[in-house]
Structures are given as C-alpha cells and as structure tokens.
Amino acid sequence: MRRIYLVLVALPIAAFPVVAAAGEIWVTNEKDDDISVIDTATLEVIRTIPTGERPRGITFSSDHSRVYICASDSDAVEVMDPATGEILHELPSGEDPEQFVLAPDDKHLWIANEDDAVTTVVDVDRREVVAQINVGIEPEGMAVSADGKIVVTTSETTSMAHWIDTATMKIVANTLVDSRPRHAEFTRDGKELWVSSEIGGSVTVFDVATRSEKAKIRFAITGVKDDLIQPVGFKFTPDGKTAFVALGPANHVAVIDMKTFAVEDYILVGRRVWHMALSPDQTQLFTTNGVSGDVTVIDVAERQALKSIKVGRFPWGAATRP
C-alpha cells in the first residue's frame, strides 16, 4: 500500500551561507524520502530536502540548474530547483522509475522502469513520454555514450545489456552479462562500456565498436566470502585511468587500473555500498552505504577512507553539484 505523500516545501534555504569554491554531494535516502546535501569542504550534511516516495536515481542537468530525482514509489521523476529545493514539476516516467541518464544535449531523460520491463524516454522540455522500449525484466543500469548516440539499459533478471540507438529509439543489440547487472557506464572516449553484475560478482568490459567482451574483472578480498562480493555502482576518474567499483555487502570499494583491468586496491567503507560521486575537484569520492545509513569519504589520491557522514535511511544515489 502506498502512502500519499505531501511534498512540503518549507526549507530553511536562506539559513545556509554558501561557501565559495565548496561543492556539494546530493544523496538520495531511499527509506526517508529525502535528500541529504553534503558540503565537500566541511564534510557535513548542510541541508535535508524532502522528495517523493523512495528516491533513488539522481542527476543534475549539465548547467546544474535542475536536479532530476527518481521518486520510485511515487511513479514520477521530480524536477527540482537545487537552489531552493522546490519541486518545480514532475515528469511522466512510467511505473517505478529506478535509475536514469540524461542525454548529453539535456533534452531526453532515459529512465529504467524496474517493475515494468521498459525503458521510458521523456522529453524534459515538453514533459512528454517520447517512447517506451521493451527491455528485459527489472531494468536498472542506464548509460549514455558521450556523443549521445547509444543508450544502454541493463536488466537484472534477464542478465543483459540492451543497446539502444538514440536516433531510432530501437534496440540494436542485446548482450548477455553475468547475473543481475546493476550499473552501466561508457568510458569518456566512448570506446568501452562497463557493466557490473551483482550476483555474478563481476564487471564486464565491452568493446563498443564490436559490442564484444573485452575483459571480465573479478574480485577477491581476504576474509570476505566470494559470493558476498557483489559489484554494483562504479565511477571513473575523469582522466580515464582509475575506476572505483562499489562491492555491496562486501563493504569495500575496489580500485581498478582502467588500462590493465587489474584490481589494485580495496578500500573498506560502510555497509552495503551502493553508488558514488566525485567531489567537483575530483580529490574525494563519496560512497552511499545503504545498510549503515552513511556516506564514506575517500581520498582519491591516497585511496583511503577519511570519514563517515551520517545521512538518512538507506542512502542510494549520489550526484555532484559544484
């Protein structure tokens, strides 16, 4: 049974002075129906903003004037003014939107509808559904290539990456990956697609040109059962050299050399680590830890956890605001 949730827009927005040069990390709290905003300079939560029900995916427009939030149990994508925290309007999203990507031209939002086995394409200006594409069961991971030409949806129960041509909005290929794919991302040069498989315990790297498997990355941590090492979210450093992979209930983030695909390090973080965001200056990585209800701050250069920041219940998504 779903509660009717009234969005109260009574925020103490003016109460917080803006620190120059400081950035923010916005974290969605799945079971608190709000967003915790972390100041990257002080490493403290400076705002808590109410959202619709069960917020998960979160992303900013490229000029950061808008923030989009998947309010999964409200069956809507909310469009918020990040300055005021006011929800400006909702976008039709299809049922149970979980994760999405915004096309590089800021026009279309590509949404995975977890309960409905479809990917919904929404025109954010006209606020209309442009297309719905049938994909596998429980779509979740969403990726868009830097040139905006390909979108990939991964489906958890079907264990596939579905490659969609953004011009025709049709599937052009389906590639199998290991069990329960969770997250997908193109490298910045557009040459590789990475897909994490939670139950399969691997990350598959595809060569985009041939859509063939180029590498498969596996993990091993002393003292952690192999089947509890479950890769979910991951993040590339902008220089294209290093990937950080969240390993779910293994409570570690793996550090991977993107040239050799070798795992170089494991960093202990909070419990059930989910998604990540980099600080605007790329020196810090913030991980959402679902079960422990906190965010771990990692020093990117030192590859060390610096601090845990208490947020809401079941933090899920993370996005950077400069």
Partner: protein
C-alpha cells in the same frame, strides 16, 4: 498524487520479432517443460483461514516461465510449460510416461515415494527432474537419483535455520508440542536433530491430543496443557498440516514465543522478504497469481529459473548438458536472497540462504555470520557431504 501508468505490454514472442540484432548468431532452442503434480488430499484442519491455494507451486512455475520467456525472447529460446495434475489415487505412472515422452524437463510435485517412482521409470533415464515438493531427507541421502535435483529445501534446512537463529540468540532451552500425524512426528525428529546439531536443548515433549474446537477454547485449554512444561525460552510446535499451531501462541501458561511450524519459522521463502530485490519478485508474483508467494511456489520458481539460466548460458535444451552446467562452478542463480544459489554436487540439493521469519518480518537470514564451514557456509544447513549416503552423483 495520481499514479501514472503507461503500459505497453507485448508478448515475448512478438518482442523477439520486433527487436533488431541479437548479438552473436544463436540457434533456435526450444525447451519443453512439464509440471507434474500428484494431488494429495489435505487433512481437515481447525481453522478456515489460509486455505491451501489450488495453484500452489504451479503459480511459482508460471511466474518463472514469464521471467524466463523474456530473456528467451531476446535469444530465440522458446519455453513451454504444461501442467499435468493427477487426481488423488490417479495413475501417476501413466501420466508420467506420457509426460516423459513429450518433455525432458519435469518439475514433480508429489510425495517422496511418488517422486522416486517417476525418477526410476526407464523413460526418465535421460530426463532432468526437479523435486519441487518433498523435503524428506532420504531423497538427498541413500535414495538420491542422478536425474533428480531438489529445488525445495530439505526439511532439515528449515529446522537448522531455526536452530542456528535460536542458538545465536542464546534461546537454548526449549520444549516441544508434537502433533498426532506422521508428518508432525517426522518434523519433530528433524527439529530434534537440528537442536542437537546446534546445541539447543529440548527439555520436554508433549503430544498434542486435543480433539476440541480450539477456536472457542484455546485460551483455557492451551494454558492448562502447557502448565506442566519445565521453564523454557521458546516453545516449539511440530504441526506440519497447519492444524492447531496457530492457537498455541499467546495462549500458553508462560509468556514464551512459539517456533517451528508456526510463529518463528525457517522457510525457503516468505511474503515478508523484501530485501535483495525480493520485492520485485513478490510484486510480479502477486500481480499474476493474485496471492502471496509461498515456499512451494518459490521452489517451483527456482527449479524453472535454474533451467532458464542454464539454457541462456549454454544455448542448449539437452537435459544432460543442462544438468552438467547446473552442477558446475559456472552456474549461479539469482534467487533474490542476496547470494547466488548453486546446487550441492553430491546430492543435487539447491544450496540457498534460509530466511527465519515471523508473520511480519524477516528475523534472520541464515547462515548467520559466524557459523563456519570448510567449503560453503550455506552447507551448515541440511545434509552435508560427509553425512550423505548419496552415491548417484559420483560422490
């Protein structure tokens, strides 16, 4: 807030025709499966609440078929599922022979003896059979069969899960009420073995002898009935027919939690599971079956999904190849319980985490951290390799 629903439902077959490329070329594969049920007359029970659904198990197989067909739609893999239900006392052997002539993957929902009858038919030699109904140990022990895998947990896995949890809580003094039916005696023996395995004491046993309508008198009768039990932490009840156990809780002489067949239970699946993506499976099941998913539904679901996962990976419907993939290191089924599910290579039992639940929530997912095992901590639940007399798997 109005709900926006945009649904364009297209069948898996049509979907296959609509999508463009399929990646690497794959041969068409068709997998013919049958759900074969021997209907059993359920004993009369006191309460009219919670009747046994007519499609128990079958609904789980159908939900798995829908999940599997979607993947198949992208890969030119076709799946069919026939349901054959034999009335109580009907000719199961004749039905099984007909089924084996038409399909090579069979989910059998029947008592242990009948499952063995089907597995031992000459026609079944090359088939892949799943036991989706019987938790009896002997099918995993001396009476195991090479062509028979078990997706339903052994009864001992349920009992071991509960005892692990009681031990972890240090609720180690128990007493037990045992129902009058052979199944109750059997589960009592299973609970007793599990208690011994995990160091839980059963201080007293009491046979359930009432012949009254407890809906009227439970408060008085059960209180007196339990008055002479030695003090205990938890009251165990063995009532596998779901007859009287529901009237024990909150009617006892001492204020003690009830566990076993009612109250706190070890189960393969329960409607209260929501973590690990389980809520998605529950939603899909409920929207199709119009009821909650029960453990027997989950057993049928995991059996059919095991086949689907294997066909997807090896691109074949050959039962021998499917069996060998399912029993290999390469196999891992996403069963919405937080870890990949695999099969025990020495007796064909699906290895899985076992939830311990009450009516409202998941209490523990076993194995609980700290119960160690030399190979796999999930093997702390149920018959382990060293104890099993099963030889059919080459062990």
């Amino acid at each position: 807030m109005p709900k926006r629903r945009i649904r364009w439902k297209i069948s898996a077959c049509l979907l296959a025709a609509l999508v463009g490329g399929f990646g690497p070329a794959r041969a068409e594969v068709t997998v013919a499966m049958t759900y074969l049920r021997q209907e059993v007359q359920a004993p009369p029970v006191l309460s009219n609440l919670d009747p046994i659904p007519a499609d128990l198990g079958i609904a789980g197989a159908k939900a798995a078929l829908a999940d599997t067909e979607t993947t198949g739609g992208f890969l030119a893999h076709h799946y069919t599922l026939k349901v054959i239900s034999v009335a109580p006392g009907g000719d199961l052997v004749a039905a099984a022979k007909a089924v084996l002539a038409a399909s090579s993957v069979i989910l059998v929902d029947a008592p242990a003896e009948s499952i063995l009858t089907v597995a031992d038919l000459p026609e079944a030699a090359g088939a892949l059979i799943f036991n989706v109904a019987s938790g009896e140990r002997r099918l995993r022990d001396a009476d195991c069969r090479a062509n028979l895998l078990h997706s339903i947990p052994e009864d001992a896995m349920r009992a071991d899960a509960l005892m692990q949890m009681l031990r972890a809580r240090r609720w180690t003094r128990t007493a037990m009420i045992v129902g009058p039916r052979p199944e109750d005696e059997a589960y009592a023996a299973t609970l007793r073995a599990a208690a011994a395995k995990f160091g839980v004491e059963i201080l007293a046993f009491k046979a359930w002898t009432f012949n009254t309508d407890l809906r009227r008198t439970a408060g008085k009768e059960v209180s007196l009935f339990t008055q002479d039990l030695p003090d205990h932490d938890v009251l165990l009840v063995a009532d596998e027919a779901d007859d009287f156990a529901r009237y024990v809780a909150d009617n006892t002489w001492l204020a003690r939690p009830v566990a076993g067949s009612d109250g706190l239970r070890g189960e393969g699946w329960a409607p209260v599971l929501e973590q690990w993506g389980a809520v998605q499976l529950q939603n899909r099941f409920e929207s199709a079956a119009k009821r909650e998913m029960r453990p027997r539904d989950y057993a049928a679901w995991t059996a059919l999904r095991s086949v689907g996962e294997a066909v997807t990976r090896i691109n074949s419907a050959d039962p021998a190849k499917l069996r060998s993939h399912i029993l290999s290191d390469a196999f891992g089924l996403d069963g919405f319980k937080g870890r990949p599910l695999t099969y025990r290579r020495w007796n064909g039992q699906l290895r899985q985490p076992m939830p311990v639940v009450n009516a409202r929530a998941l209490v523990e997912l076993t194995p609980i951290d700290g119960y160690l095992h030399q190979e796999n901590d999930m093997d702390t639940l149920g018959l382990d390799r060293a104890e099993s007399a099963c030889k059919a798997f080459g062990g």
